[in-house]
Amino acid sequence: MGKAQVIPFGPQHPVLPEPIHLDLVVQDETVVDVLPQIGFIHRGLEKLVETHDIHQYIYVAERICGICAFGHSMGYAETVERLMNVEVPKRAEYLRVIMHELSRIHSHLLWMGLAADAFGYESLFMHTWRLRERVLDIFEAVAGGRVILSYTLLGGVTNDVDEPMLAHIKDVLAGMKKEYNELCNAFLKDTSVKNRTVGVGTLSQEEAIEYGIVGPFARASNVNNDVRCIGQGAYGELSSFEPILDTDGDCYARVKVRALEVLQAIDIINELIDKIPGGPILNPVKGAPEAGSEASGILEQPRGEVYYYCSGNGTKNLERMRIRTPTSQNIAGMTMALKGCDLADVNMIVLSIDPCISCTER
Protein backbone atom coordinates (compact mmCIF):
# COMPACT_ATOMS: atom_id res chain seq x y z
CA MET A 1 0.00 0.00 0.00
CA GLY A 2 1.30 3.44 -0.95
CA LYS A 3 1.14 6.56 1.15
CA ALA A 4 -2.26 8.22 1.55
CA GLN A 5 -2.66 11.48 -0.35
CA VAL A 6 -5.39 14.08 -0.54
CA ILE A 7 -6.73 15.03 -3.95
CA PRO A 8 -9.12 17.96 -4.17
CA PHE A 9 -12.24 17.47 -6.30
CA GLY A 10 -14.16 20.64 -7.18
CA PRO A 11 -15.60 23.18 -6.46
CA GLN A 12 -15.04 23.70 -10.18
CA HIS A 13 -15.07 20.36 -11.94
CA PRO A 14 -16.00 19.52 -15.52
CA VAL A 15 -18.45 16.82 -14.47
CA LEU A 16 -20.48 19.09 -12.22
CA PRO A 17 -22.00 22.38 -13.22
CA GLU A 18 -22.40 23.24 -9.56
CA PRO A 19 -19.82 23.83 -6.85
CA ILE A 20 -19.19 21.17 -4.25
CA HIS A 21 -15.76 20.45 -2.89
CA LEU A 22 -14.59 16.97 -1.92
CA ASP A 23 -11.27 16.14 -0.34
CA LEU A 24 -10.52 12.64 -1.58
CA VAL A 25 -8.07 10.70 0.55
CA VAL A 26 -6.47 8.33 -1.93
CA GLN A 27 -4.19 5.38 -1.50
CA ASP A 28 -2.92 3.74 -4.71
CA GLU A 29 -5.79 5.00 -6.87
CA THR A 30 -8.35 3.81 -4.30
CA VAL A 31 -10.42 6.30 -2.39
CA VAL A 32 -10.22 5.54 1.32
CA ASP A 33 -11.98 8.57 2.76
CA VAL A 34 -13.98 11.56 1.58
CA LEU A 35 -14.54 14.92 3.23
CA PRO A 36 -17.27 16.98 1.59
CA GLN A 37 -17.44 20.75 1.93
CA ILE A 38 -20.36 22.90 0.86
CA GLY A 39 -21.22 26.57 1.15
CA PHE A 40 -20.03 28.06 -2.12
CA ILE A 41 -23.38 29.32 -3.34
CA HIS A 42 -25.42 30.07 -0.27
CA ARG A 43 -27.88 32.85 -1.16
CA GLY A 44 -29.98 33.19 1.97
CA LEU A 45 -33.28 32.54 0.23
CA GLU A 46 -35.08 31.41 3.41
CA LYS A 47 -34.41 34.80 4.98
CA LEU A 48 -36.21 36.52 2.11
CA VAL A 49 -39.62 35.63 3.61
CA GLU A 50 -39.07 38.69 5.77
CA THR A 51 -39.03 41.06 2.81
CA HIS A 52 -41.35 39.27 0.37
CA ASP A 53 -44.98 38.58 1.13
CA ILE A 54 -46.53 35.12 0.79
CA HIS A 55 -47.53 35.72 -2.84
CA GLN A 56 -44.20 37.17 -3.91
CA TYR A 57 -42.22 34.40 -2.23
CA ILE A 58 -43.44 31.92 -4.85
CA TYR A 59 -41.01 33.52 -7.26
CA VAL A 60 -38.21 33.21 -4.75
CA ALA A 61 -39.07 29.57 -4.04
CA GLU A 62 -38.93 28.92 -7.75
CA ARG A 63 -35.37 30.15 -7.87
CA ILE A 64 -34.11 27.76 -5.22
CA CYS A 65 -33.23 25.36 -8.01
CA GLY A 66 -33.45 25.76 -11.75
CA ILE A 67 -34.34 22.17 -12.52
CA CYS A 68 -36.94 21.61 -9.82
CA ALA A 69 -38.23 25.18 -10.20
CA PHE A 70 -41.82 24.10 -10.67
CA GLY A 71 -41.61 21.56 -7.85
CA HIS A 72 -40.40 24.13 -5.35
CA SER A 73 -43.13 26.61 -6.21
CA MET A 74 -45.71 23.81 -5.94
CA GLY A 75 -44.36 22.53 -2.62
CA TYR A 76 -44.23 26.02 -1.17
CA ALA A 77 -47.74 26.84 -2.36
CA GLU A 78 -49.16 23.58 -0.96
CA THR A 79 -47.60 24.26 2.42
CA VAL A 80 -48.89 27.85 2.63
CA GLU A 81 -52.32 26.67 1.49
CA ARG A 82 -52.30 24.18 4.34
CA LEU A 83 -51.23 26.94 6.71
CA MET A 84 -54.18 29.09 5.68
CA ASN A 85 -56.70 26.24 5.17
CA VAL A 86 -57.27 27.05 1.53
CA GLU A 87 -58.91 24.50 -0.70
CA VAL A 88 -57.38 24.17 -4.15
CA PRO A 89 -59.74 23.42 -7.07
CA LYS A 90 -59.41 19.87 -8.41
CA ARG A 91 -58.45 20.96 -11.89
CA ALA A 92 -55.61 23.06 -10.54
CA GLU A 93 -54.33 20.07 -8.56
CA TYR A 94 -54.32 17.95 -11.71
CA LEU A 95 -52.57 20.64 -13.73
CA ARG A 96 -49.94 21.02 -11.03
CA VAL A 97 -49.19 17.32 -10.95
CA ILE A 98 -49.05 17.14 -14.76
CA MET A 99 -46.53 19.98 -14.82
CA HIS A 100 -44.61 18.44 -11.94
CA GLU A 101 -44.34 15.10 -13.70
CA LEU A 102 -43.23 16.87 -16.88
CA SER A 103 -40.53 18.51 -14.76
CA ARG A 104 -39.52 15.08 -13.56
CA ILE A 105 -39.13 13.89 -17.14
CA HIS A 106 -37.00 16.87 -18.07
CA SER A 107 -34.93 16.62 -14.90
CA HIS A 108 -34.25 12.91 -15.38
CA LEU A 109 -33.41 13.41 -19.06
CA LEU A 110 -31.03 16.18 -18.09
CA TRP A 111 -29.40 13.92 -15.55
CA MET A 112 -29.15 11.00 -17.97
CA GLY A 113 -27.48 13.30 -20.47
CA LEU A 114 -24.99 14.47 -17.88
CA ALA A 115 -24.33 10.89 -16.83
CA ALA A 116 -23.69 9.90 -20.45
CA ASP A 117 -21.31 12.82 -20.68
CA ALA A 118 -19.59 11.69 -17.46
CA PHE A 119 -18.88 8.24 -18.81
CA GLY A 120 -17.82 9.68 -22.13
CA TYR A 121 -20.72 8.69 -24.41
CA GLU A 122 -21.18 12.00 -26.21
CA SER A 123 -23.77 11.01 -28.80
CA LEU A 124 -26.01 9.52 -26.11
CA PHE A 125 -25.69 12.79 -24.22
CA MET A 126 -26.75 14.83 -27.26
CA HIS A 127 -29.72 12.60 -28.07
CA THR A 128 -30.98 12.70 -24.49
CA TRP A 129 -30.88 16.47 -24.41
CA ARG A 130 -32.50 16.70 -27.81
CA LEU A 131 -35.44 14.76 -26.41
CA ARG A 132 -35.56 16.95 -23.30
CA GLU A 133 -36.12 19.95 -25.54
CA ARG A 134 -39.60 18.61 -26.36
CA VAL A 135 -40.67 18.94 -22.73
CA LEU A 136 -39.25 22.45 -22.54
CA ASP A 137 -41.27 23.36 -25.62
CA ILE A 138 -44.42 22.17 -23.86
CA PHE A 139 -43.55 24.38 -20.89
CA GLU A 140 -42.97 27.30 -23.19
CA ALA A 141 -46.35 26.87 -24.85
CA VAL A 142 -48.23 26.37 -21.58
CA ALA A 143 -46.57 28.79 -19.19
CA GLY A 144 -44.50 31.06 -21.41
CA GLY A 145 -41.13 30.09 -19.95
CA ARG A 146 -38.77 27.20 -20.52
CA VAL A 147 -37.27 26.70 -17.08
CA ILE A 148 -38.74 29.21 -14.64
CA LEU A 149 -42.44 28.86 -15.26
CA SER A 150 -44.13 31.13 -12.67
CA TYR A 151 -47.15 28.90 -13.19
CA THR A 152 -48.18 28.33 -9.58
CA LEU A 153 -50.23 30.76 -7.54
CA LEU A 154 -51.41 30.39 -3.97
CA GLY A 155 -54.73 28.62 -4.38
CA GLY A 156 -54.27 27.33 -7.92
CA VAL A 157 -52.42 28.02 -11.14
CA THR A 158 -52.13 31.07 -13.39
CA ASN A 159 -53.74 29.90 -16.60
CA ASP A 160 -55.81 26.98 -17.78
CA VAL A 161 -54.61 24.42 -20.30
CA ASP A 162 -57.29 23.85 -22.92
CA GLU A 163 -58.30 20.52 -24.49
CA PRO A 164 -56.28 20.88 -27.73
CA MET A 165 -53.17 21.68 -25.70
CA LEU A 166 -53.71 18.65 -23.46
CA ALA A 167 -54.11 16.50 -26.56
CA HIS A 168 -50.94 18.04 -27.95
CA ILE A 169 -49.05 17.15 -24.75
CA LYS A 170 -50.23 13.56 -25.12
CA ASP A 171 -49.10 13.47 -28.74
CA VAL A 172 -45.69 14.87 -27.93
CA LEU A 173 -45.25 12.35 -25.14
CA ALA A 174 -46.30 9.48 -27.40
CA GLY A 175 -43.72 10.54 -29.98
CA MET A 176 -41.11 10.97 -27.28
CA LYS A 177 -41.82 7.58 -25.77
CA LYS A 178 -40.88 5.83 -28.98
CA GLU A 179 -37.54 7.57 -29.23
CA TYR A 180 -37.01 7.34 -25.50
CA ASN A 181 -37.34 3.56 -25.61
CA GLU A 182 -34.43 3.48 -28.04
CA LEU A 183 -32.39 5.66 -25.69
CA CYS A 184 -33.34 3.45 -22.77
CA ASN A 185 -32.12 0.47 -24.70
CA ALA A 186 -28.74 2.17 -25.03
CA PHE A 187 -28.63 3.18 -21.37
CA LEU A 188 -29.61 -0.20 -20.02
CA LYS A 189 -28.06 -2.66 -22.49
CA ASP A 190 -25.00 -1.01 -24.05
CA THR A 191 -21.72 -2.61 -22.95
CA SER A 192 -19.89 0.69 -22.72
CA VAL A 193 -22.49 2.01 -20.27
CA LYS A 194 -22.46 -1.19 -18.24
CA ASN A 195 -18.67 -1.21 -18.03
CA ARG A 196 -18.70 2.12 -16.30
CA THR A 197 -21.68 1.58 -14.00
CA VAL A 198 -22.23 -2.04 -12.95
CA GLY A 199 -20.90 -2.69 -9.47
CA VAL A 200 -19.60 0.86 -9.06
CA GLY A 201 -20.34 2.82 -5.89
CA THR A 202 -22.53 0.20 -4.26
CA LEU A 203 -24.63 1.19 -1.26
CA SER A 204 -26.51 -1.52 0.61
CA GLN A 205 -30.07 -1.25 1.83
CA GLU A 206 -28.94 -1.07 5.48
CA GLU A 207 -26.57 1.78 4.73
CA ALA A 208 -29.21 3.59 2.73
CA ILE A 209 -31.61 3.44 5.67
CA GLU A 210 -28.91 4.34 8.18
CA TYR A 211 -27.89 7.48 6.30
CA GLY A 212 -31.48 8.48 5.62
CA ILE A 213 -31.02 8.93 1.89
CA VAL A 214 -33.95 9.81 -0.32
CA GLY A 215 -35.15 9.75 -3.90
CA PRO A 216 -33.99 7.52 -6.74
CA PHE A 217 -30.65 7.13 -4.94
CA ALA A 218 -32.46 5.30 -2.11
CA ARG A 219 -34.85 3.46 -4.41
CA ALA A 220 -31.87 1.98 -6.24
CA SER A 221 -30.90 0.42 -2.90
CA ASN A 222 -34.39 -1.00 -2.45
CA VAL A 223 -35.60 1.59 0.06
CA ASN A 224 -39.12 2.66 -0.75
CA ASN A 225 -39.50 6.26 0.29
CA ASP A 226 -41.44 7.59 -2.65
CA VAL A 227 -43.67 10.28 -1.19
CA ARG A 228 -46.02 10.01 -4.16
CA CYS A 229 -47.32 6.77 -2.58
CA ILE A 230 -49.06 8.86 0.10
CA GLY A 231 -51.31 10.16 -2.64
CA GLN A 232 -51.36 13.89 -1.97
CA GLY A 233 -53.21 16.09 -4.41
CA ALA A 234 -53.92 14.49 -7.75
CA TYR A 235 -51.54 11.59 -6.99
CA GLY A 236 -54.33 10.14 -4.87
CA GLU A 237 -56.55 9.86 -7.94
CA LEU A 238 -54.21 7.56 -9.85
CA SER A 239 -55.61 4.09 -10.37
CA SER A 240 -52.40 2.55 -9.09
CA PHE A 241 -48.95 3.70 -8.21
CA GLU A 242 -45.99 1.41 -7.71
CA PRO A 243 -42.64 3.04 -6.93
CA ILE A 244 -39.72 1.80 -9.02
CA LEU A 245 -37.21 -0.07 -6.92
CA ASP A 246 -33.99 -1.91 -7.58
CA THR A 247 -31.94 -4.10 -5.30
CA ASP A 248 -28.38 -3.71 -6.57
CA GLY A 249 -27.60 -0.25 -5.16
CA ASP A 250 -24.85 0.47 -7.70
CA CYS A 251 -24.58 3.22 -10.32
CA TYR A 252 -26.29 0.99 -12.89
CA ALA A 253 -29.29 0.54 -10.60
CA ARG A 254 -29.55 4.31 -10.23
CA VAL A 255 -29.49 4.79 -13.98
CA LYS A 256 -32.16 2.13 -14.30
CA VAL A 257 -34.47 3.56 -11.64
CA ARG A 258 -34.37 6.99 -13.25
CA ALA A 259 -34.73 5.62 -16.76
CA LEU A 260 -37.87 3.70 -15.77
CA GLU A 261 -39.26 6.62 -13.79
CA VAL A 262 -39.41 8.65 -16.99
CA LEU A 263 -41.69 6.02 -18.54
CA GLN A 264 -43.74 5.94 -15.34
CA ALA A 265 -44.10 9.73 -15.43
CA ILE A 266 -45.34 9.56 -19.02
CA ASP A 267 -47.99 7.05 -17.94
CA ILE A 268 -49.04 9.21 -14.97
CA ILE A 269 -49.44 12.26 -17.20
CA ASN A 270 -51.48 10.33 -19.76
CA GLU A 271 -53.76 8.97 -17.07
CA LEU A 272 -54.28 12.38 -15.47
CA ILE A 273 -54.98 14.06 -18.80
CA ASP A 274 -57.66 11.44 -19.44
CA LYS A 275 -59.23 12.01 -16.04
CA ILE A 276 -58.84 15.76 -15.65
CA PRO A 277 -62.04 17.37 -14.33
CA GLY A 278 -63.37 20.73 -15.51
CA GLY A 279 -63.99 23.71 -13.31
CA PRO A 280 -62.14 26.68 -11.91
CA ILE A 281 -58.37 26.76 -11.66
CA LEU A 282 -57.91 29.32 -8.95
CA ASN A 283 -59.33 29.89 -5.50
CA PRO A 284 -57.83 33.30 -4.70
CA VAL A 285 -56.08 33.51 -1.37
CA LYS A 286 -56.90 36.60 0.66
CA GLY A 287 -55.66 37.75 4.01
CA ALA A 288 -52.65 36.65 5.97
CA PRO A 289 -51.70 33.51 7.92
CA GLU A 290 -52.64 33.65 11.59
CA ALA A 291 -50.01 34.40 14.18
CA GLY A 292 -48.51 31.23 15.59
CA SER A 293 -49.94 28.94 12.90
CA GLU A 294 -47.60 26.27 11.56
CA ALA A 295 -47.69 23.91 8.63
CA SER A 296 -45.39 21.48 6.92
CA GLY A 297 -45.50 19.63 3.65
CA ILE A 298 -43.58 17.07 1.67
CA LEU A 299 -43.25 16.54 -2.04
CA GLU A 300 -41.43 13.98 -4.16
CA GLN A 301 -39.16 15.90 -6.46
CA PRO A 302 -36.99 14.40 -9.18
CA ARG A 303 -34.11 14.14 -6.70
CA GLY A 304 -36.16 12.92 -3.77
CA GLU A 305 -38.29 14.06 -0.90
CA VAL A 306 -38.38 17.75 -0.05
CA TYR A 307 -39.71 18.96 3.25
CA TYR A 308 -41.21 22.41 3.73
CA TYR A 309 -42.04 24.10 6.99
CA CYS A 310 -43.59 27.50 7.43
CA SER A 311 -45.12 29.49 10.24
CA GLY A 312 -47.18 32.66 10.20
CA ASN A 313 -47.12 35.76 12.38
CA GLY A 314 -50.35 37.48 11.43
CA THR A 315 -48.81 39.62 8.71
CA LYS A 316 -48.51 39.07 4.97
CA ASN A 317 -44.97 37.85 5.53
CA LEU A 318 -44.21 34.43 6.96
CA GLU A 319 -42.46 34.18 10.28
CA ARG A 320 -40.18 31.39 9.16
CA MET A 321 -39.70 29.26 6.06
CA ARG A 322 -37.57 26.16 6.16
CA ILE A 323 -36.81 23.79 3.32
CA ARG A 324 -34.92 20.51 3.53
CA THR A 325 -33.81 19.40 0.12
CA PRO A 326 -32.91 15.92 -1.11
CA THR A 327 -29.26 16.52 -1.88
CA SER A 328 -28.49 17.70 1.64
CA GLN A 329 -29.78 14.30 2.75
CA ASN A 330 -27.90 12.41 0.08
CA ILE A 331 -24.42 13.85 0.53
CA ALA A 332 -23.77 11.60 3.53
CA GLY A 333 -24.78 8.55 1.51
CA MET A 334 -22.60 9.70 -1.35
CA THR A 335 -19.49 9.81 0.84
CA MET A 336 -20.29 6.22 1.88
CA ALA A 337 -20.69 5.10 -1.70
CA LEU A 338 -17.38 6.73 -2.61
CA LYS A 339 -15.34 4.86 -0.01
CA GLY A 340 -13.36 2.08 -1.59
CA CYS A 341 -13.99 3.09 -5.20
CA ASP A 342 -11.41 3.75 -7.91
CA LEU A 343 -10.34 7.34 -8.40
CA ALA A 344 -11.54 7.18 -12.00
CA ASP A 345 -15.07 6.27 -10.86
CA VAL A 346 -15.46 9.23 -8.51
CA ASN A 347 -17.13 11.48 -11.04
CA MET A 348 -19.63 8.79 -12.03
CA ILE A 349 -20.59 8.12 -8.41
CA VAL A 350 -20.87 11.80 -7.51
CA LEU A 351 -23.09 12.32 -10.50
CA SER A 352 -25.18 9.22 -9.80
CA ILE A 353 -26.84 10.86 -6.78
CA ASP A 354 -27.93 13.70 -9.08
CA PRO A 355 -26.52 16.36 -6.78
CA CYS A 356 -28.21 19.74 -6.78
CA ILE A 357 -26.00 22.02 -4.78
CA SER A 358 -28.02 25.20 -5.18
CA CYS A 359 -30.99 23.39 -3.60
CA THR A 360 -28.79 22.19 -0.77
CA GLU A 361 -27.46 25.61 0.13
CA ARG A 362 -30.42 27.76 -0.88
Partner: protein, 153 residues
Protein backbone atom coordinates in the same frame (compact mmCIF):
# COMPACT_ATOMS: atom_id res chain seq x y z
CA UNK B 1 -25.60 -6.76 -23.81
CA UNK B 2 -23.90 -5.42 -26.91
CA UNK B 3 -22.45 -2.27 -28.35
CA UNK B 4 -23.72 0.38 -30.77
CA UNK B 5 -27.19 0.31 -29.27
CA UNK B 6 -27.56 3.87 -30.40
CA UNK B 7 -26.38 3.21 -33.94
CA UNK B 8 -29.76 3.38 -35.61
CA UNK B 9 -30.81 6.60 -33.97
CA UNK B 10 -27.48 8.25 -34.76
CA UNK B 11 -27.61 7.10 -38.39
CA UNK B 12 -31.13 8.45 -38.73
CA UNK B 13 -30.12 11.84 -37.44
CA UNK B 14 -27.48 12.03 -40.19
CA UNK B 15 -30.28 12.49 -42.70
CA UNK B 16 -32.58 14.65 -40.63
CA UNK B 17 -32.66 18.38 -40.59
CA UNK B 18 -30.72 19.82 -37.65
CA UNK B 19 -32.51 20.33 -34.35
CA UNK B 20 -30.88 23.69 -33.81
CA UNK B 21 -31.57 26.94 -35.63
CA UNK B 22 -29.00 29.31 -37.07
CA UNK B 23 -29.53 32.18 -34.67
CA UNK B 24 -29.55 35.20 -35.42
CA UNK B 25 -30.20 34.53 -39.14
CA UNK B 26 -33.09 32.25 -38.24
CA UNK B 27 -35.33 32.85 -35.26
CA UNK B 28 -37.22 30.29 -33.23
CA UNK B 29 -40.97 30.50 -33.37
CA UNK B 30 -42.43 32.35 -30.42
CA UNK B 31 -45.51 30.75 -28.91
CA UNK B 32 -48.40 32.93 -27.92
CA UNK B 33 -48.04 33.95 -24.31
CA UNK B 34 -44.25 33.74 -24.32
CA UNK B 35 -42.95 35.75 -21.43
CA UNK B 36 -40.85 38.30 -23.25
CA UNK B 37 -41.40 41.79 -21.94
CA UNK B 38 -44.05 43.92 -20.25
CA UNK B 39 -45.82 46.46 -22.42
CA UNK B 40 -47.93 49.25 -21.00
CA UNK B 41 -50.87 51.07 -22.50
CA UNK B 42 -50.05 54.33 -20.80
CA UNK B 43 -53.24 56.06 -21.90
CA UNK B 44 -55.33 53.69 -19.79
CA UNK B 45 -53.00 53.84 -16.78
CA UNK B 46 -54.42 55.73 -13.82
CA UNK B 47 -51.10 55.87 -11.96
CA UNK B 48 -52.63 53.93 -9.07
CA UNK B 49 -49.28 52.33 -8.21
CA UNK B 50 -50.63 48.82 -7.56
CA UNK B 51 -48.14 47.30 -10.00
CA UNK B 52 -45.25 48.99 -8.18
CA UNK B 53 -46.49 47.68 -4.85
CA UNK B 54 -47.02 44.07 -5.97
CA UNK B 55 -43.93 43.60 -8.16
CA UNK B 56 -41.66 41.15 -6.31
CA UNK B 57 -38.45 42.69 -7.63
CA UNK B 58 -39.32 46.36 -7.51
CA UNK B 59 -38.82 46.74 -11.24
CA UNK B 60 -41.66 49.25 -11.68
CA UNK B 61 -41.73 52.84 -10.42
CA UNK B 62 -44.88 54.93 -10.80
CA UNK B 63 -44.66 58.66 -10.30
CA UNK B 64 -48.13 60.13 -10.10
CA UNK B 65 -46.94 63.75 -9.88
CA UNK B 66 -44.83 63.59 -13.00
CA UNK B 67 -47.21 61.18 -14.76
CA UNK B 68 -44.50 58.65 -15.55
CA UNK B 69 -44.46 54.86 -15.45
CA UNK B 70 -40.93 53.40 -15.41
CA UNK B 71 -39.78 49.82 -15.74
CA UNK B 72 -36.31 48.43 -15.38
CA UNK B 73 -36.50 45.48 -17.76
CA UNK B 74 -33.30 44.02 -16.37
CA UNK B 75 -34.86 43.66 -12.94
CA UNK B 76 -38.14 42.27 -14.23
CA UNK B 77 -38.43 38.49 -13.82
CA UNK B 78 -41.47 38.15 -16.08
CA UNK B 79 -43.66 36.77 -13.32
CA UNK B 80 -46.82 38.42 -14.68
CA UNK B 81 -47.93 39.62 -11.25
CA UNK B 82 -48.37 43.19 -12.49
CA UNK B 83 -50.35 42.03 -15.53
CA UNK B 84 -52.72 40.08 -13.29
CA UNK B 85 -53.12 42.74 -10.64
CA UNK B 86 -53.59 45.88 -12.74
CA UNK B 87 -57.27 46.69 -12.34
CA UNK B 88 -57.35 48.73 -15.54
CA UNK B 89 -55.85 46.08 -17.85
CA UNK B 90 -53.13 48.37 -19.11
CA UNK B 91 -50.26 45.92 -18.79
CA UNK B 92 -49.62 43.01 -21.14
CA UNK B 93 -46.91 40.41 -21.48
CA UNK B 94 -45.60 40.24 -25.03
CA UNK B 95 -43.05 38.07 -26.82
CA UNK B 96 -39.66 39.52 -27.61
CA UNK B 97 -36.91 39.57 -25.03
CA UNK B 98 -34.99 42.58 -23.80
CA UNK B 99 -31.72 42.80 -25.76
CA UNK B 100 -28.63 42.30 -23.64
CA UNK B 101 -26.71 45.42 -22.67
CA UNK B 102 -23.60 46.30 -20.72
CA UNK B 103 -25.52 48.36 -18.20
CA UNK B 104 -28.97 48.15 -16.69
CA UNK B 105 -31.29 50.93 -17.70
CA UNK B 106 -34.97 51.79 -17.35
CA UNK B 107 -37.61 52.58 -19.89
CA UNK B 108 -40.01 55.40 -19.01
CA UNK B 109 -43.45 56.03 -20.38
CA UNK B 110 -45.00 59.43 -19.77
CA UNK B 111 -48.72 59.89 -19.60
CA UNK B 112 -49.60 62.19 -22.49
CA UNK B 113 -51.10 65.61 -21.77
CA UNK B 114 -54.88 65.19 -22.09
CA UNK B 115 -56.32 66.59 -25.32
CA UNK B 116 -59.10 69.19 -25.31
CA UNK B 117 -61.69 66.53 -25.99
CA UNK B 118 -60.49 64.44 -23.07
CA UNK B 119 -60.46 67.50 -20.84
CA UNK B 120 -64.01 68.35 -21.90
CA UNK B 121 -65.07 64.75 -21.24
CA UNK B 122 -63.48 64.85 -17.80
CA UNK B 123 -65.15 68.16 -16.97
CA UNK B 124 -68.48 66.77 -18.15
CA UNK B 125 -68.07 63.67 -15.97
CA UNK B 126 -67.12 65.77 -12.97
CA UNK B 127 -70.12 68.04 -13.48
CA UNK B 128 -72.38 65.00 -13.72
CA UNK B 129 -70.90 63.61 -10.52
CA UNK B 130 -71.37 66.95 -8.73
CA UNK B 131 -74.98 67.06 -9.87
CA UNK B 132 -75.56 63.51 -8.63
CA UNK B 133 -74.03 64.34 -5.25
CA UNK B 134 -76.10 67.49 -4.96
CA UNK B 135 -79.33 65.63 -5.82
CA UNK B 136 -78.53 62.93 -3.26
CA UNK B 137 -77.84 65.52 -0.57
CA UNK B 138 -81.06 67.33 -1.28
CA UNK B 139 -83.04 64.10 -1.19
CA UNK B 140 -81.47 63.26 2.15
CA UNK B 141 -82.29 66.65 3.61
CA UNK B 142 -85.89 66.30 2.41
CA UNK B 143 -86.14 62.86 3.98
CA UNK B 144 -84.79 64.13 7.29
CA UNK B 145 -87.16 67.03 7.27
CA UNK B 146 -90.12 64.73 6.61
CA UNK B 147 -89.01 62.45 9.42
CA UNK B 148 -88.78 65.41 11.86
CA UNK B 149 -92.21 66.60 10.90
CA UNK B 150 -93.58 63.12 11.43
CA UNK B 151 -91.97 63.06 14.89
CA UNK B 152 -93.38 66.50 15.74
CA UNK B 153 -96.95 65.42 15.11
Amino acid sequence: MGSFKLGRMTLRSLFKKPETVLYPVEKRYEPEGLKGHIAVDIKKCTMCGVCQKRCPTGAITVDKEAGTWTINRFDCIQCRTCVRDCAFDCLTMEPGYQKPATEKFSATETKPEPTDEELAEKARKEAEKAARVKAALEAKAAREKAAKEAEGQ
